[in-house]
């Protein structure tokens, strides 16, 4: 019997040891934080987030019992491998929620807010309650969270989705539920056909918050070539090999060709690549004037020093999605000029006064400046356009009326004057490109080209 006990006891000891390990792991995790630079523990962050989510209700005084709350969802990756694309949604959403619910001066100046906060629809005071959800860069979590917001919370609009797969998968949830869905993924234009966006179409409530890819590529490549070397002739594209990268590559190639470049090769790099030297050596074999490195700025910052070491390009390098203010922090030394495209307007360098003021408000609110932060300009304007549409439609619940009104909105926002969604539910905007010449910046805003280059699908 004793020997039997000895056989079994280690298992129960094992369970105790397992529990101890789990507790230790939880303590390590709590101590580690979420890996962010600020080192704020995850638990504390979650508590802050929860408090912020509860804030609108807590702030509402008794006199405001008649306020009607409009629930809007934001489902984006605030952690995980796509975090770089997700933080912008949270930054703009929190700023807008604060401005609208407290009646910030900018909101009043835009003719949206009441002085005491909130906005009127059909003579009744409304406020925004934005539900932020971190999908952890997991498509299954993303869809589950969108299901929760659509079915349980009852959101009427969702800033849901980037990258491409996430946006497409969650649109299958939002569209049958008639929830307005905004996504920055420029790949959506392929499914935003005239038939799909028409009344009764399968994507009637889906909106692309960034310009058409041929417009964006045309705009950033013109700016890049003009600033780096107007006399350049040969460019090589190095593109991340994923859904977005495969979509972007032919557009970038056509845009470069439209700006007088020959593109001998598109070199795709795998998401797991860390040593880019062999790829830059391959690019160097074409004797390129410009190397266009797309589309992840954090990877570009890692990769370009390797290119500089082997002298891969003759005139300069082009990277995407980073602002000069962020670039300065990265302290990248280069004898050759490095161009960077902000989408749409750059932090710290833009000529547009409304955008400069936005960045002041953005910083004052405590939002962090990171790669792709400039994308927050787009969703920021989207919220205001949406509220204008609610006001014009006299309702936020009738999605069909709201979509019809939204298509009529012409909004003077932070990005441009007369900003609007066209009949394919896509906006049009120019982009700003800046070039750093040994730390000195020069910027150029380029409106989107009037016509697509030859070979563009659908034209």
């Amino acid at each position: 019997m004793r020997s039997e006990r000895w056989r079994l006891l280690p298992n129960s000891r094992g369970l105790l040891a397992l529990l101890s390990l789990l507790v230790t792991a939880a303590m390590i995790v709590a101590a580690c934080g979420d890996g962010d630079d600020d080192g704020e523990p995850a638990v504390a962050q979650a508590q802050v987030q929860q408090q912020e989510q509860e804030q609108p209700q807590a702030e509402a005084p008794a006199a405001e019992e008649e306020v009607i709350w409009i629930d809007i969802g934001v489902v984006a990756p605030s952690s995980g491998s796509y975090e770089v694309f997700g933080h912008t949604y949270e930054a703009s959403g929190k700023l807008v929620e604060h401005e609208i619910n407290t009646g910030a001066q900018y909101c009043i100046d835009q003719g949206v807010c009441e002085p005491g906060g909130g906005f009127m629809i059909d003579g009744k005071l409304h406020k925004l309650r934005i539900h932020f959800r971190d999908d952890r860069s997991d498509i299954n979590a993303h869809v589950a969270l969108v299901q929760e917001l659509v079915r349980d919370v009852g959101i009427v609009a969702c800033m849901c989705g980037t990258p491409h797969d996430f946006a497409v998968a969650s649109s299958k949830v939002t569209q049958p539920a008639k929830v307005l869905h905004f996504s920055g993924s420029s790949t959506l234009e392929e499914i935003l056909t005239a038939e799909a966006t028409a009344v009764g179409g399968e994507n009637h409530y889906l909106f692309q918050t960034e310009t058409r890819e041929w417009q964006r590529s045309g705009s950033i490549m013109k700016g890049g070539v003009d600033l780096l070397d107007p006399n350049s002739e040969v460019s090589v594209i190095m593109m991340l090999n994923d859904a977005t990268g495969q979509f972007l590559a032919p557009y970038i190639k056509r845009a470069l060709e439209a700006n007088g470049q020959t593109v001998p090769e598109i070199i795709y790099w795998d998401p797991a690549t860390t040593d880019f030297s062999p790829l830059f050596s391959r690019a160097k074999a074409h004797d390129p004037d410009i190397i266009v490195f797309m589309y992840d700025p954090d990877r570009a910052i890692q990769a370009i020093p390797q290119a500089l070491e082997i002298g891969a390009a003759n005139s300069g390098y082009f990277m995407f999605g980073i602002d000069p203010a962020e670039f300065r922090k990265r302290d990248l030394d280069s004898d050759l000029p490095i161009a960077m495209a902000c989408v749409p307007l750059c932090h710290g360098e833009t000529d547009r006064a409304e955008a400069r003021e936005y960045w002041v408000r953005y910083d004052a609110f405590g939002n962090e400046l990171r790669s792709f932060s400039s994308v927050s300009l787009l969703t920021y304007d989207d919220y205001y356009m949406l509220i204008k549409a609610y006001q014009a439609a006299g309702t936020f619940e009738d999605s069909d009326a709201v979509v019809a009104a939204l298509l009529d909105v012409r909004y003077d926002g932070v990005i441009a004057d007369g900003f609007f969604f066209d009949d394919r539910h896509i906006v049009a905007h120019g982009t700003e490109v800046c070039v750093s010449r040994q730390g000195v910046f020069e910027c150029q805003f380029t409106p989107p080209p009037a016509t697509p280059p030859p070979g563009t699908p659908g034209f």
Partner: protein, 386 residues
């Protein structure tokens, strides 16, 4: 006569499924089945129901993986690719030929099985870590192939390249009941549950069959099995092929759940996660894969709702530590560990209550095999198929 034969066969099958359950196991299984059936009513959160659907689909694939690993001791990372094979088959048949879910389902299962057999033929020549690495590589190869078959222009080609494929129609209705998860979660949940129960029953029947015994004979001593005339290579490939069927069915369901598939959904990381679920829950107990899927699927969601959401980075640390702990301390998974603990407590209680020496001894239950390896030594072990 035929009817009597059929009735007799059905009775034997039913007995094989139920006769070996102890009262405690019957209680646990009944409770679990009730919870699974009532889950959408008990848990009103759409987030959790959606998560249950997703991980229910994964659990179907896990029963295939559990069969392979538990019965032959080969741990495959390629099961996410086999799921991908099923998903891509369903999506391509829909996009190219307009096949609906029910028409595509058998083809998804068959092609996944064929892929498993093709992969198994060279891969099963090695074992242990080498087999894991080969299947890991196969998984990456699948992702590379599906990502790049689209060519330079997105959405061209058979697989749609990195942008993947859209399945615009839902699962076809049965008896007027539609299964559009984006309109109603519950019908799709019950559809997945039905497939999951079929997978569990199929796995249990296979394990208890002559084929299952052959697999275990190879697992326990391949040389000995060969010496008595068992064609070990054939049976190992067969086991891999059968496990591919489970993955193929799961893949087809997954394609119709998300209604959009892309290569990265089936990468080696997902394969490792499937293996993690099987290792955590345990592969030799019927409940093991299901418990593994529940832990991996629901733990992050529950923690998130509780306000201590784990980032993917933290999740990897926690699951990594959990996996190390389980492998070292509970090599047959949590379910086997809990069953061991239960046996130990029961035995201790029996000893405490045993009458003093001299009185007549009560009839004692046969001792459980060590570490809950209830399927280790033949049919008698089936008793503990928790």
């Amino acid at each position: 006569m035929i009817a009597r034969l059929q009735a007799s066969r059905a009775r034997r099958l039913s007995e094989r499924l139920t006769q070996q359950l102890t009262p405690a196991q019957t209680v646990v299984w009944t409770a679990l089945l009730i919870v699974m059936v009532l889950f959408p009513t008990i848990v009103s959160s759409s987030r959790f129901i959606d998560t249950a659907v997703t991980y229910g689909i994964f659990a179907i694939a896990l029963y295939g993986l559990g069969l392979l690993y538990g019965q032959t001791n080969y741990l495959s990372i390629a099961h996410s690719a086999l799921m991908g094979m099923g998903a891509y088959t369903a999506a391509i048949l829909f996009v190219q030929l307009g096949f609906g879910f029910w028409a595509a389902l058998p083809l998804s299962a068959l092609l996944a099985m064929a892929a498993a057999v093709l992969l198994g033929y060279p891969a099963l020549r090695v074992s242990g870590y080498h087999f894991v690495i080969v299947t890991f590589a196969a998984c990456e190869l699948f992702v590379l192939a599906t990502r790049n078959l689209g060519g330079a222009e997105a959405r061209s080609g058979l697989t749609g390249g990195a942008q993947g494929l859209d399945v615009t129609e839902p699962v076809g209705a049965i008896f007027g009941q539609s299964f559009d998860i984006n309109l109603e979660l519950e019908p799709f949940y019950y559809l997945v549950l039905a497939f999951l129960l079929i997978a569990m029953v199929a796995a249990q029947l296979l394990i208890g069959s002559r084929l299952g015994r052959t697999f275990r004979a190879i697992r326990e001593n391949e040389a000995l099995a060969r010496s008595i005339g068992v064609r070990a290579n054939f049976y190992k490939i067969l086991a891999f092929g059968i496990s591919g069927v489970f993955a193929g069915v799961a893949g087809a369901l997954f394609a119709y759940k998300l209604r959009h598939i892309a290569p990265d959904l089936f990468n080696s990381f997902e394969g490792v996660e499937l293996a993690l679920m099987v290792l955590l829950g345990g592969s030799r107990r019927l409940m093991g894969p299901l418990v593994g899927a529940i832990i991996v699927g629901f733990l992050p969601e529950v923690l998130d709702v509780a306000g201590i959401g784990l980032t993917p980075f933290q999740r990897q640390i926690v699951f990594g530590l959990l996996l190390v702990a389980v492998i070292i301390l509970l090599p047959h998974g949590l379910v086997a560990g809990i069953a061991d603990l239960y046996s130990y407590l029961k035995r201790s209680l029996a000893e405490t209550l045993r009458p003093p020496p001299g009185s007549s001894p009560p009839p004692s239950e046969p001792a459980a095999p060590p570490n809950g390896d209830t399927l280790a030594a033949g049919d008698a072990e089936q008793r503990g198929a928790t």
